[in-house]
């Protein structure tokens, strides 16, 4: 405990206190000179995005030379031919990126972005609830697991939380990934991290002082400690103008839930408040009806995803060495389109990993020819890479976590080489 308190008192807070108070554009300064400002080793940050609803990996990253796929999806298949109206972005002669994800193309070319295809869970469930639950717990065959894999990752970092912002989920309640014994906090909006009196700042201040005083005196250790942390955290955030945040490099976040979440994660990273594991989520991937092609539901979703991530990456230019971002989704969708121009629940999907120590510019994993005999249960892109293999490699390498058996208790597999700068 002393180390934790000590750090706060002598470290981050002291920095804030020492002449920085009232700096209107603190962020700009911090962004420019963070390495000089902070005498402490920079934290590595793992940012995860859960795409709830099961993304159609075959439409995001299409094996466009596959005739079986073309036949199975007469209304959904898109071509990479230059002559096509909205061609896929040819990545390597075999896989094509959905045109609405052109924001990802330069990241892929710069080898910052890696794609893993045919990834999924060994558990064949096609229930969103079960598959998300298994993936977030990290135990594909156990429902009773009480902790989430990201919470266990926090426990393996090897140091105590220096601040309340070590693990932050940009959601209204804690996701299963964050369940567990290690401190993690759900904040849907940084602006709400304050004592609120609705436009009555002075009264809010007075109330905040009273609260702080009362929590300082309470005999309950839990309330006393957490109260202190709350007010310290609140002061940290107050030093910055969260509301009028100006992203660096003219980065433009889409005005979407995911865009806002990533923007706030970027703010936390720049504020240097000790963030190490962040979680955001995006919905609408369950495209049973009218999935669309170059336009439509799916295209809108991937536009949002890729532009949000690109804005985040651009905004964080000065921090890119510290940050790795990884997407995940509970399963993929059927190879064949269904009767309502959509796709149903399937097995393998794809995921994106972005960072400077990522083995990027490559589509990892195995995607067989999509002939019916190669499909899982005669209908789905087979899961050729266990999600734990990617999760443990990315988290392990980036956050320098060992003990994969704690992160994923029932699993003994290896990584697939998605990390490692080429």
């Amino acid at each position: 405990m002393t180390s934790r308190r000590g750090f706060l008192k002598s470290g981050a807070l002291a920095l804030f206190a020492a002449g920085l108070g009232g700096v209107p554009n603190f962020l700009a300064q911090a962004a420019g000179s963070s390495k000089i400002l902070s005498p402490y080793k920079k934290n590595k940050v793992l940012v995860t995005i859960f795409q709830r609803g099961a993304m159609d990996g075959l439409m995001a990253v299409t094996p466009f030379t596959d005739e079986y796929l073309q036949k199975a999806r007469p209304g959904l298949f898109m071509s990479a031919a230059r002559s096509a109206a909205n061609p896929l972005i040819d990545l390597d002669g075999r896989f094509g990126l959905h045109p609405a994800m052109e924001a990802f193309a330069p990241l892929f070319r710069e080898k910052r972005l890696a794609i893993v295809h045919g990834v999924g869970s060994p558990n064949k469930t096609r229930s969103h609830f079960d598959a998300q639950d298994y993936m977030e717990a990290g135990t594909p065959f156990r429902k009773g697991t009480s902790s989430g894999w990201l919470n266990r990752a926090v426990g393996l970092l090897g140091h105590e939380a220096a601040t309340p912002f070590q693990a932050v989920s940009l959601t209204s309640s804690l996701p299963k990934s964050f369940y567990g014994d290690h401190p993690a906090v759900a904040i849907s909006n940084l602006q709400e991290f304050a004592i609120q009196m609705r436009g009555n700042a002075r009264a809010a201040n007075a109330a905040a002082n009273s609260f702080e005083d009362l929590y300082d005196q309470t005999s309950s250790t839990l309330l006393n400690r957490t109260g202190k942390e709350s007010f310290e955290a609140l002061k940290m955030l107050q030093k910055t103008d969260v509301k009028n945040y100006k992203p660096a490099n003219n980065a433009r976040y889409p005005n979407s839930p995911l865009g806002n979440s990533l923007k706030q994660i970027a703010q936390l990273i720049k504020m240097d408040v000790g963030l190490e594991v962040a979680f955001a989520e995006t919905g609408g991937w369950d495209t049973h009806y009218n999935q669309g092609t170059a336009q439509g539901t799916f295209a809108r979703n991937v536009t949002d995803l890729s532009q949000s991530v690109l804005a985040f990456w651009t905004d964080l230019e000065a921090y890119q060495d510290e940050v790795t971002l990884m997407t995940m989704t509970e399963f993929g969708r059927t190879v064949k389109q269904n009767g309502s121009n959509g796709t149903d629940h399937g097995r393998g999907s794809c995921m994106f990993v972005l960072g400077n120590d990522v083995h990027g510019g490559l589509v990892h994993g195995q995607v067989p020819t999509l002939a019916i005999e190669n499909l899982e249960d005669g209908r789905d892109l087979p899961v050729t890479t266990d999600f734990r293999s990617v999760f443990s490699e990315v988290a392990g390498r980036h956050l320098q976590i060992e003990q994969a058996n704690v992160l994923f208790p029932d699993w003994k597999g290896n990584g697939i080489g998605v990390m490692g700068r080429v």
Binding site: P74, R126, S127, H128, F129, D130, D133, A137, K143, G144, S146, P164, S172, S173, L174, K176, Y179, V185, A186, I187, F193, A194, I195, Q196, M197, R198, G199, N200, A201, R202, A203, A206, A207, N209, S210, F211, D213, L214, Y215, T218, S220, L222, L223, N224, T226, G227, E229, S230, H288, Y289, G296, T334, N338, G339, S340, D344, I372, D377, G378, R379
Partner: protein, 661 residues
């Protein structure tokens, strides 16, 4: 003559004493000796406040006096009997139709989101491409869908969930049988199911109503069996699909695979989309039907009975899962007609035949004999000989309910709920002994707990941290506030970290302070206090002046003491009062609050409302109500004294002392 005339007298005496016995049983038969609080240094009033803080959702003004007058033991006995009239609750819940529906009616009335759209398209109420054009024709499309829903009496699933959450808030606030409500919540959380599981969600109303509440103060084995057979649990932990594993090399299996392949090959574009879908579903179902699912078997041991260290192995889990194969939901309920045999079990002509085959139907529960693994099993040393059926599962449940590890595990969870996050071994031992002796009589176990010095010890007082739900309801109760619309409260409870009925993991919400209290949630608690008293939570009406019979407090400091006493009866308030006195005595302060409040135009405030709150308010009729309330609020705000009082009360609600119970 003599004998004759004596008869009626004897009968009368017998009748009277019979009546006396009945009322005696209701009131005091459970509590045979006085609670040992005096030895622990508590006054009767302090003990009453402690009792109320643990077994109710918060003491109402004057309730400590009531309990003292009645006698602590009598009050507890009355709560154990749980037979107080509930006129108010019934009146408040009269409009909640889903609360009186069967699972079937609920499934029919509240189709799942996707399903509703499908049906509307099927019935031609909306054109298929209307969905695509939703963006352009939003209003029209919505109108058509609404008309379709109205015509068929369909309602949105969200409404069902809202009624579920609202009724919990209303019951907790107004029920006279508080202990029953607290225990209903406890057992629900112990046997957790979740709204986050969309298939399970619509079974939750009946789950709480028929499975949990009636058994909350009953017998452990009864509630365990009832949960095992409930559609909610069968869905949530997958047992509904668990079936005897088929031999992969069997001829039948091969034929089945063959059929699947053929079906798939035949899937040429010539098939209609509907047919294609049917084939796919059949294939999927065929796969699902094969094999064992261990989820429920594991959790019934780990979470519901023995506890994780209860002495079972993985082997026992698999064996128990085999015992429970065939325990499923009655077909048709979930749109999940499993196969013809099971469906036929329903039709009256065949029911005798299927009963002979070993099928058992109990309401929405079905034991599907054809899916049961008939081989021999051994669970924790107990043999289940080959050829068994439904009775095996009942025997397993009986065995688990009576296991000594279960007695300890359940006692320990109850002690954590009611005494302390870390209850002493001596207390758990005593409770477990009663559990075993009484075959899991929950009332007796609670009584042993309350009769133990550990319950009253100084270490236990104020040791528990209120959950967000408890914080919200205890605020409302202790201020005598009225809940006219519970939805905004539910929103705040979720914001403070407790999404009601929606904890995703089968463990239920962890019952410990560390789980509830973190930097984010603590700030939300403080903001909740401030929002509640400044009437920024629509749907809750409170009148601080009326609470104190409209008597004007002598001074600001006096007011502080009076209202602290309402919120925190029998607590030592010196510290709190001392800390807050400078605030209330600050001459500038009330001006500050007052000025700022009057500057706040209603429009501006509405803009500042949370998005969700606005959503809640936007529903028709509510808007007008909101405007009226804002006007009332302004009027209120013109009185600086009231604003100040409100703020002080808000701070007490957000204070550390009020987080404890």
């Amino acid at each position: 003559m003599k004998n004759k005339s004596a008869y009626p007298v004897v009968v009368l005496v017998l009748l009277l004493s019979g009546m006396l016995l009945v009322s005696f049983k209701n009131a005091t038969s459970y509590v045979k000796k006085a609670f040992p609080y005096k030895k622990e240094g508590l006054t009767e009033r302090q003990a009453a406040a402690h009792l109320l803080s643990r077994f109710t959702y918060g003491a109402k003004p004057g309730q400590v006096d009531e309990v003292v007058k009645m006698g602590l033991e009598n009050w507890f006995a009355q709560q154990l009997a749980a037979n107080q009239p509930e006129d108010r609750v019934e009146q408040l819940l009269a409009g909640y139709n889903s609360l009186r529906m069967t699972n079937e009616q609920i499934a029919r009335t509240y189709p799942k989101g996707g399903q509703l759209l499908k049906m509307a398209i099927r019935d031609g109420a909306i054109a298929k491409d209307a969905v695509k054009k939703e963006k352009e024709n939003r209003a029209e499309y919505r109108k058509a869908l609404q008309a379709y829903m109205l015509q068929n009496n369909y309602k949105l699933q969200n409404e069902l969930n809202r009624e579920l959450q609202n009724q919990k808030i209303l019951r907790a606030t107004y029920s006279q049988n508080q202990l029953q409500e607290v225990l209903t919540s406890f057992w629900f959380n112990h046997f957790n199911v979740s709204l986050s599981d969309n298939d399970c969600a619509r079974f939750i109303v009946t789950y709480e109503r028929d499975v949990i509440r009636p058994n909350a103060l009953g017998n452990f084995e009864t509630i365990l069996l009832a949960t095992a057979q409930s559609p909610a649990m069968l869905t949530y932990l997958d047992n509904f699909m668990s079936a005897a594993p088929t031999d992969a090399s069997s001829a039948e299996q091969e034929r089945r695979e063959q059929r699947m392949r053929q079906q798939l090959r035949r899937q040429q574009p010539g098939l209609s989309p509907v047919q294609q879908k049917q084939v796919m579903e059949r294939v999927q179902k065929a796969r699902k039907e094969q094999g064992l699912n261990e989820n429920y078997a594991r959790e019934i041991m780990e979470l519901h009975t023995l506890g994780v260290d209860g002495g079972y192995t993985q082997q026992d889990v698999t064996q128990a899962a085999r015992v429970l194969t065939g325990w499923t939901i009655f077909p048709g309920l979930n749109g999940n007609t499993i196969n013809r045999k099971e469906q036929a079990a329903n039709s009256n002509g065949n029911s005798a035949y299927f009963a002979r085959q070993g099928f058992v139907r109990e309401g929405d529960f079905l034991f599907a004999a054809n899916r049961h693994d008939k081989g021999e099993k051994v669970v924790m040393g107990t043999r289940f000989p080959a050829g068994g059926g439904y009775e095996e599962g009942v025997k397993l449940i009986n065995m688990l309910a009576k296991h000594p590890a279960t007695a300890r595990f359940i006692s320990s969870k109850l002690a954590v709920r009611f005494v302390s996050d870390n209850p002493s071994k001596s207390l758990i031992d005593k409770m477990a002994k009663t559990f075993t002796k009484t075959d899991g009589d929950i009332r007796q176990v609670l009584l042993t707990m309350v009769s133990s010095p550990e319950f009253w010890s100084k270490e236990a007082l104020r040791e528990k941290t209120k959950s967000p739900f408890e914080l919200a309801i205890s605020s409302v109760r202790s201020l005598n506030a009225e809940v006219t619309n519970p939805a905004p409260l539910a929103f705040w409870i979720a914001k403070m970290g407790e999404k009601m009925y929606a904890y995703q993991a089968p463990t239920g919400f962890p019952d410990k302070g560390q789980f509830w209290i973190n930097t984010g949630s603590l700030l939300s608690r403080m903001n909740f206090g401030l929002a509640l008293v400044s009437r920024r939570i629509p749907g809750v009406q409170l009148d601080l002046a009326a609470l104190h019979q409209n008597r004007e407090p002598e001074s600001a400091e006096h007011a502080l003491r009076i209202y602290s006493n309402y919120l925190l009866p029998e607590r030592n308030l010196d510290e709190t009062v001392q800390r807050l006195t400078p605030l209330v005595n600050d001459p500038e302060y009330s001006t500050k609050v007052n000025n700022a409040a009057s500057k706040l135009a209603p429009d501006q405030e509405d803009q500042l409302m949370e998005e969700e709150e606005v959503m809640l308010m936007n529903r028709k009729g509510k808007e007008r109500q909101a405007r009226k309330k804002t006007a009332a609020r302004q009027e209120q705000a013109s009185n600086g004294q009231d604003m100040m009082l409100a703020q002080v009360v808000g701070i007490i609600i957000g204070s550390p002392e009020f987080q404890r119970r």
